[in-house]
């Protein structure tokens, strides 16, 4: 059976499974549509949360990001997992006790203010829409590479599948498809990782293999990697090559941002009890860690493998002849994600760091006229099974896994967007008298609208798609996270304080990002060049989240203390969300 048929079969089977689940898990009430009827087992919710959270970025890009920089990009590992500690200890149990449907609803009720709620809705929509663009384009890329269809056709197929289970099943359909998607994606990620770890170190567990001995050279794997990247003029893998301050702030920014992402928070509304919300956060991190503990090993080993492919006799010997390059390089050259240009005309692929002045003399001595080989970081995961010469079905699994990661996150984001529109805006703002049936219909229509918007943005991705991720994390950290935390941990923060705090976080973060990245990221509209010398106190735009959060906390605290205390019934509300007792009653079933 050829690779194409195999890909088609595996991806087709996974899609059939998702649609089957959708038909089985239809939502018939708004409680089911928004929170899966609050009947999801904490372990299953943990699995669904892991799929919800691990996007195309985690599945496809994470290992490549770490491989490119080495130790410095450990920020992604610590940041994207450490946020779950904040979620589990500071937010999830109390929001589950509150027992409503959306994040803006908590903010509106706790701060007894429609204005606060609408600021939260705006933040939520900006965060989730910017986030969903990446998922849709990721799905399109996976389709075009593995199924050889136009990426727009791929996008339509992906949207149609999400449409079926998200519109029919709401949170209930999404939850159970996410469980299936998690199993697909973790299998797809782990199998090649285990084989590659075995090939290089003899250790079947990639996270342990990373710190084991490289069988071929007899050196520790990381020592070997450090040595060969240095021999090609690249920065050493295990050392910090940026500043400690940057790494610290960026890690913090990712952690707080993660804890403030609405599509992750609402997953904890689906479990039956407060204690389940606590356990469920732990299970979510177990399932996330299965991928995140392997990712740095996948990255380091793939980088080692790529260099070994190009310098089969070692980095001190001649590079491989272009005509003799392996098949996986030929396959990926077609996609443009891997490029070769013979600058010195010797027919060999010289791969080294030509930006390193200290290395220039060595390069000239060896007759090199510039780096001839470049690759997109994403192929480290996508081409991994081919690089390690694994069988065709593993390659097909990677295709299904990448699609599962993109679709599961897209569905979670779409639910966060549509529930904010149908519940926060339509039900509680525009038309409070809407019937249960009417609201369910509104929720389905909002979902369909959100899918149409996401598809449109996926087809016409704004040129700034990559930079908007900084906006999503920055806003989540600067608006949603502080508002939720203060709502739970302080009885003194009032409507005025919370609203002005969130507005400060929102505007300050946008202003800082737009200054360096352009107004609404339109190229050429930035006031200052995006270089370190221009940053205020050296803070890069992608690390601004904690500063925005701090501003939010400070404004909310000062304004609240200068104005009236919240009314007694709000203080009682805070008392009641702090204790688990009575969570079952609040769900109304």
């Amino acid at each position: 059976m050829d690779q194409y048929t195999l890909n088609l079969l595996v991806v087709g089977a996974s899609f059939a499974l998702y649609i089957g689940i959708a038909i089985w898990a239809r939502a018939s009430t708004t409680a089911e549509f928004y929170t899966a009827g609050r009947g999801v087992h904490p372990v299953l919710n943990g699995m669904a949360t892991a799929a919800d959270w691990m996007s195309a970025a985690s599945f496809i890009s994470l290992a490549g990001l770490i491989a490119a920089v080495g130790y410095g990009n450990s920020s992604f590992l610590m940041g994207w997992t450490g946020g779950y500690v904040l979620l589990a200890l500071l937010l999830a149990p109390y929001l589950r006790k509150f027992g409503k449907y959306t994040v803006p609803q908590f903010i509106g009720d706790r701060f007894y203010s429609q204005k606060a709620r609408m600021v939260a809705v705006v933040s939520l929509i900006v965060i989730s829409v910017t986030y969903v663009i990446g998922q849709m384009t990721g799905a399109g890329v996976a389709f075009s590479r593995f199924l050889e269809v136009e990426s727009s056709t791929g996008l339509y197929i992906a949207s149609a599948v999400v449409f079926i289970y998200a519109v029919l099943g709401g949170m209930k359909g999404i939850t159970y498809t996410q469980v299936a998607q998690y199993i697909v994606l973790i299998t797809a990620y782990t199998i090649p990782a285990v084989f590659i770890s075995l090939q290089l170190t003899g250790n079947p567990i990639p996270g342990l293999g990373l710190f084991s001995t490289h069988t071929e050279s007899g050196l520790p794997l990381l020592t070997k990697l450090d040595q060969i990247v240095r021999e090609l003029g690249f920065a050493q893998y295990t050392t910090l090559n940026t500043s400690m301050f940057n790494m610290f702030l960026f890690t913090l920014s990712l952690m707080i941002g993660t804890a403030g992402l609405p599509h992750v928070i609402i997953r904890f509304f689906t479990v039956p009890k407060v204690s389940d919300a606590r356990w469920s956060a732990g299970w979510a991190l177990v399932f996330i860690a299965l991928l995140y503990l392997s990712a740095p090993a996948v990255g380091a080993m793939a980088r080692l493998n790529i260099i070994a492919t190009i310098y089969p006799q070692g980095t001190q010997s001649e590079a491989v002849l272009y005509e003799e390059r392996p098949d996986w390089m030929r396959n990926w050259e077609v996609t443009g994600l891997l490029k070769f240009e013979d600058k010195n005309g010797d027919g060999r692929i010289q791969f080294y760091n030509d930006k390193n002045d200290a290395f220039a003399a060595t390069a000239t001595e060896r007759g090199w006229a510039g780096n001839e080989f470049s690759y997109n970081n994403d192929i480290l995961v996508l081409a991994n099974p081919e690089i390690a010469q694994l069988p065709g079905w593993v390659i097909a699994l990677i295709a299904a896994g990448g699609l599962a990661a993109a679709l599961s996150t897209a569905a979670g984001l779409l639910l966060a967007i549509s529930s904010a529109i149908s519940h926060d805006v339509i039900k509680d703002y525009l038309n409070p008298n809407i019937s249960e049936k009417g609201e369910l219909l509104a929720a389905r229509i909002s979902m369909a609208g959100a899918i149409a918007l996401a598809t449109y943005l996926g087809l016409n991705p704004p040129g700034f798609a990559a930079q908007t991720v900084a906006l999503a994390f920055g806003l989540a950290a600067a608006t949603i996270f502080p508002a939720l935390m203060m709502g739970i941990f302080s009885k003194r923060i009032n409507a005025m304080g919370a609203t002005l705090g969130m507005l400060t976080g929102l505007l300050l973060t946008c202003a800082y990002l737009f200054t360096y990245l352009g107004v609404f990221f339109i190229p050429g509209t930035n006031m200052l060049d995006n270089v370190a010398a221009n940053y205020i106190f050296g803070i890069p735009p992608a690390s601004f989240g904690p500063i925005g959060a701090l501003a939010n906390f400070a404004v909310a605290y000062l304004v609240s203390n200068a104005t009236e205390e919240p009314p007694a019934h709000i203080q009682e509300l805070v008392e009641s969300i702090r204790v688990p007792k009575g969570a079952g009653g609040a769900t109304g079933h």
Binding site: I66, Y71, S74, L77, M78, T81, G82, Y84, V85, A88, L89, L90, P93, G207, L210, F211, S212, L219, P220, L221, L222, T223, K224, D226, T238, L240, M244, M247, F248, T251, L252, K273, V274, S275, R278, W279, A281, G282, L285, V286, A289, Y292, L293, P296, E575, S576, R578, V579, P580, K581, G582, A583, G584
Partner: protein, 85 residues
């Protein structure tokens, strides 16, 4: 709901457990993984040092331990203060 004084004691106990957990959270990631790495560079772990291991593996394992510890501990505290479900 439980009476006021018991619920205050419950909240104080919760805050104490959260504070201890957050200190461990900070030390395992920002501390051992980033800030203290140069100080601990003498401790070799598989071709590199302890700080690198904490940044890429150890911190995640500590986070896992913390969340499960918190869930287990709070279940006990809930029951002691009569505010469990």
């Amino acid at each position: 709901m439980a009476d006021k004084s018991s619920s205050n004691a419950y909240w104080a106990a919760n805050i104490r457990i959260i504070t201890i957990s957050m200190v461990i959270w900070f030390v395992a990631s920002f501390g051992l993984g980033i800030l203290l790495r140069p100080m601990l560079s003498g401790i070799a772990v598989g071709g590199t040092d302890l700080g690198f291991w904490f940044a890429q593996q150890g911190s995640i394992l500590v986070f896992l331990g913390l969340i499960f510890f918190y869930a287990w501990k709070m279940n006990k505290v809930d029951a002691e203060h009569g505010v469990d479900e």
